[in-house]
Assembly symmetry: D2
Homo-oligomer: 92 residues x 4
């Protein structure tokens, strides 16, 4: 499925890429460490929002289709994937 081609997701990932390059410049110019750490934290937060957007699209497409469909194994698969995402979240 190509619902992940949501233009807002791409736009945010390009913004994250620019932010990462900005932090590279800060490091090259000898910025204060704590300012670098704070910018990295801001990037992590922006990435969390991208993940949330992808997950929201996913719930309203793949998960909804699987859960409303007749295939018990497909339902179990999408639920197991949601659990894996939940368990990995915050471990960074």
């Amino acid at each position: 499925m190509d619902h992940s081609a949501d233009p807002e997701i791409l736009r945010r990932l390009k913004s994250v890429e620019g932010h990462v390059r900005g932090v590279q410049r800060m490091v090259e110019e000898g910025a204060y460490c704590i300012d670098v750490v704070n910018q990295i934290t801001a990037i992590q937060r922006a990435l969390k929002k991208v993940s949330a957007r992808v997950l929201d699209d996913h719930l309203h497409s793949c998960v909804t289709d699987a859960m409303r469909g007749p295939d018990g194994a497909a339902r179990e698969k999408v639920l197991a994937e949601l659990m894996q995402v939940f368990e990995a979240t915050g471990k960074s």
Copy 2:
């Protein structure tokens, strides 16, 4: 101070930038949402390691200098910054 110009930190930030572009391609090509979310989680984890490296450099330079110096306000400043970093960590 330019200790943040540690080449290993720059190298890792360039690797993160490449990873972010890779996720953009995944999104453009309609990759499965969960795969996108998992790659974003991997990037967040890589960023946490960059932060750890910057912080380690910081502890062994600015923090050590301030803590061993005569200026009580400078000591309080580096400790307050460490607390702020700790409190922000994980909130993403």
Copy 3:
């Protein structure tokens, strides 16, 4: 629904309670700060596992029922709740 009365969830919450009392004793006995912080981190990790268990039960009961049911608003409600849980996770 009383599926949250899963005995394993109660058992783990009682274990967490005992762990919290153990940390109180450590503090009263003047334990080393870092040991206290590490025990608190262990409790947070145990709580994350309890949440995961509750969420897994929830996906296989309420969420499955709502998603397979005819009520679009009920489906939207369970999906919005999952998003809210995902967004709050890690912010601690």
Copy 4:
């Protein structure tokens, strides 16, 4: 050192213990899963604040003493412990 016997830390840990018992009651009474998950998230957040308080006391006592002292190995030990705490934070 007994600076971890800060009465505010004990008071907060007792409050966390009460909160954990409250969630046990919610589970026994068949509360809605999402409400249980949200209360567990609130407990994790409260624990993070306890850790922050312990760490702040630690920075102003053990860490300050070690960093201002003559023993290079003692300084390295407190810095390594701070790094370990930072790296573990958020992994829950």
